[in-house]
Every structure is written in C-alpha cells, then in structure tokens.
C-alpha cells in the first residue's frame, strides 16, 4: 500500500508540476475506477473505462487527475429515409466501398469504429478562508476528432457557509478530420467510382462556456442548487457522415442523398435546478434542466433519484433512478427534402436534432467493502422515441421512418481512500 501511495503521489506531483504548481507531500488520496458497458441492440456498442484520483497536496491545495478510455463500434443512422420495397446502397464515408440496406430498414452506417482517450487534470486552491480558485486542463483524441480545453472557476461561501456562489468559465478547441474528408454542404453522395466533392482541410470549432451557480442550505436536511449556463460554439458543426434524402413528393422514393449542412454558430442557454433532501434515513434528489438555443432546440430534463439506505451511512444502499427528457426540433431539422423545391440554407435529418421524448429507468447498488473502500453497480435502460412526421408522402407513410432507439448500460465502480 505504501508503495502504491508513493507512486501515486509522484504521478500527481508530476501532473501538478506540468500545471506550474509545486506539489507538497501527500496527505490523503481517493481513487475512483469504473467500467461501463453500453449496448444499443443492432446499433452502437461501447466500453468505457475511467480512473480518477484526488489528492490533498497540503496547504488546502487539492489536485485531481482523470483518464478515460472508450472503444466504440457498431452502426448509426446516416439520416437517409428507408425504402419499403427496395435495397438501398450507400457509399462508405471513406469513399471506398458501399453498404446495403434491406427494404424497410432504417439506413445505418455500419462502418463506425473508434477509440477515444481523454486526460484531464486540475487544482483547487484556497484564496483565504471563504474563497476557492479551481482550474483545469483537458485533452482528448480519437482517430477523427481532437479536443483541447481549459477551465477555471471561482467560488465564495457566504452566510456562515450556507450559500456558495460560483462562476466558472471554460474554453475548448475541437478539430475534426473526417474519414474521407469534409463533404461540401448539400453535395450529392456519389458512388465509389466517382470523385467526391470535399471542403479543404479539417473542420474546427471553438466552444466557450460560462456557468453562474448558487447552492443554498435551506435547513438541516435540505440543500438546493441553481445554475445558469451559456455556451457559444463557433465553427464547423455539421456532421460529415450524415445525409438528407431528397424524395419524390408523390411516391416518397429517394431521388438523391445530399450531405447535410448545419449553422456554424450555436448559442445555448441552460437553467438547472437541484434539490436534495435527507429524510429520516434515505435521501431524495430531484433535478430539472431547461435548455434553449438559437438553432431552435428547446428541451426539458427531469431527473429523480431515491437513495434507500440499507445500512449506516456510508453504508449499503439501493437507488432507483428515473429520467424524463423532451426536446423540440432544431429549425434546420427535416426528415427529408422534397424534389423540385429550393434547398434551404441549412438542413439535417439527424433524428437527434428532431422532436423526441426519452425515458431512463435505472437502479444502483452501493456498499462498503472493507475499510475506506466502496463498490457500486448500476444498470440503466434508456429509450428514446422520436416523433414521426404526420405528412409523409408516398411510400414513407408505409415505413417505420424513425423507430424508437433503446440502450442498456451497466457500470461497476470501485472507490478507495488512502
């Protein structure tokens, strides 16, 4: 154990040195590890692993470091409409080869395979008795996407530490280098034998986030939190792998597949509220989030958890979880374009920007295992149901245009304190 602690302290000291802050000898550490398996039947499968550590560096300094690795594979909807009585053939994003979709099936691009590594580190530093400064850095990479970021937060306690006000800022720079290049907006998907039209270079975007938050102790057993966030993304936000079908207005059969086009700027406003209350033994947690953006998306998210204590605290517990989500469509969302009509400025058939309702049902179990060690298991079932358009022309009225998507994810976690 001593060797492990020493090795960890050296690693963290190295990370802190990278941030320009000298680490003092170790005092206390916590290491969290987790593995999560995610499965959408017939679509995406993912395995995600996390190791995160916090370490008390002395003099009130708290350091943290986190590494995430995930591997993803499977198929995802490419945006095209199904055809009820014919096989459809699509060109793979690389431009090399094709994939075929059976009659009536949702067109899924099955070439999706990726691995992502993400590393983040940060420090919390007290500035006097009531104020804390926190800053961190972040980087992640996958074969077609890189993200680098930095964030800082200032928080201050008021009213005998019953109220905390915090202001946090973050900046991220993302770069996408899509397989096969970036398609020209509304360019037609061509067969592999033809030379595709592509934009020059990689796509990039800058994302600025700001959060103003307040947490308030109400009474001996109740605490609430309210956050207001604004997020501005500026740059390439089109999904280079998605198309929009142009369909005949009478038959509903596709006449072309055009690469989608989204606006380059997106500003989101989010209000989030959380209430936690300790009952005689159990803890209930309720939260709500409202989001609105200038793409036209609005959404509501309500989340409820009930921690049923089966032993002392921190003891054994069971925690059912229920989440409801509803979003209205982006202005640029359209399940198809009609042949013969003028192209809009922006269009996407990505159902994730369309109207939908989603539910999550979950259960988590946690218990201590020996001194200063805890283990958790959880299982969640997620189901999203897109709204199907009522005015589908021709054959589109006979196919399951936007079927519900279900996912199951399971996580095991282990926490150790030194």
């Amino acid at each position: 154990m001593a060797a492990t602690k020493g090795t960890f302290a050296k690693l963290l000291a190295g990370a802190c040195a990278t941030l320009g802050v000298a680490a003092t000898p170790s005092r206390a550490s916590e290491v969290d590890t987790a593995a999560l398996a995610y499965v959408e039947p017939d679509r995406v499968k993912a395995l995600e692993m996390v190791i995160a550590a916090n370490h008390d560096l002395g003099d009130g300094l708290l350091g943290r470091i986190k590494f995430v690795y995930d591997a993803l594979t499977g198929a995802s909807a490419n945006g095209a409409v199904p055809v009820y009585d014919a096989v459809q053939t699509f060109t793979r994003p690389s431009g090399r080869g094709t994939y075929r979709i059976q009659p009536g099936d949702t067109p899924l691009d099955d070439t999706f395979r990726d691995a992502r590594g993400a590393l983040s580190a940060g420090l919390t530093k007290p500035l006097g008795r009531l104020t804390k400064l926190d800053f961190g850095v972040y980087g992640s990479g996958e074969h077609d996407y890189t993200s680098l970021g930095a964030n800082a937060a200032l928080s201050r306690d008021f009213q005998k530490r019953n109220r905390t006000v915090s202001l946090a800022l973050s900046v991220n720079k993302d770069t996408i280098s899509p397989e096969g290049g970036r398609p020209i907006p509304f360019a037609e998907m061509l067969s592999p034998s033809q030379t595709p039209q592509r934009l020059d270079g990689d796509g990039s975007k800058t994302v600025l986030d700001g959060i103003l938050g307040v947490s308030q102790v109400i009474d001996r057993s109740t605490v609430v939190q309210v956050n207001y966030s604004v997020s501005v993304a500026d740059g390439y936000q089109t999904d280079p792998y998605k198309v929009v079908s142009v369909v005949d207005p009478v038959t509903g059969l596709p006449t072309a597949q055009l690469y989608e086009h989204r606006p380059d700027k997106r500003t989101k406003h989010i209000v989030y509220g959380l209430l936690k209350r300790h009952l005689s033994r159990d803890v209930v947690e309720l939260s709500y989030r409202f989001m609105s953006d200038d793409w036209g998306v609005t959404s509501h998210t309500a989340d409820a958890r009930y921690r049923l204590q089966l032993g002392g605290d921190p003891g054994t517990y069971l925690q059912p979880h229920l989440r409801w989500y509803r979003q209205e469509a982006a202005d640029s969302y359209t399940p198809w374009l009609l042949d013969g009509e003028t192209l809009p400025e922006f269009a996407t058939a990505d159902y994730r920007l369309g109207p939908m309702t989603a539910w999550t049902y979950g259960m988590k179990f946690g218990r201590p295992v020996g001194e200063n060690r805890r283990v958790t298991f959880r299982l969640e079932y997620y189901r999203q149901t897109p709204d199907n358009p009522a005015d589908a022309p021709g054959q589109l009225a006979q196919v399951d245009l936007l079927p519900p998507v279900s996912a199951v994810f399971a996580q095991v976690g282990f926490t150790t304190e030194f």
């Binding site: 995802s76 994302v207 307040v214 947490s215 102790v217 997620y382 976690g413």
Partner: protein
C-alpha cells in the same frame, strides 16, 4: 427567450448575493448535510459517463458543469 433567460440569470445573481438570509443552519447542525450522500454531486464518475451518453444521443448538453470535449457522437 434569450432576453428572459438573461433576466433570470440576473435575478439569480441578485438573490444569490442578497436573498434568503433567513435560511441555513448553524455549523453544529450540519450532521446530515455533511454525509457523502448529501453532496451535490455524490457520484461524479457516473454523472460524467451519463453526460457523455446523453450528449451523443440528444441535442442538449451541459448545465451541471463542464463535461469535457470529444465526439463519440455516433
């Protein structure tokens, strides 16, 4: 909509700095609040994993903190 949200944020800031003066507890009344289960984010790893999943399946993200970047958006 944006104007209303900004107004809400300003109101939130005013309340944060001036309001609710009668709420709260004395330091010796924090026994329940100090329990790990009462932390505002009592399972940050699970929260981050969930945020990444919902980010890849829905049009909304954020509100709780900074989730980190990356795509994984298929």
């Amino acid at each position: 909509m944006t104007r209303r949200l900004l107004l809400g944020a300003a109101l939130l800031a005013v309340i944060a700095l001036t309001g609710c003066a009668s709420m709260g507890v004395e330091p010796w009344e924090r026994d329940l609040l100090a329990r790990p289960a009462m932390a505002l984010n009592d399972d940050p790893i699970a929260l981050a994993l969930d945020e990444h999943i919902y980010f890849s399946k829905e049009a909304s993200t954020g509100g709780l903190g900074f989730g980190g970047g990356g795509c994984g958006c298929n």
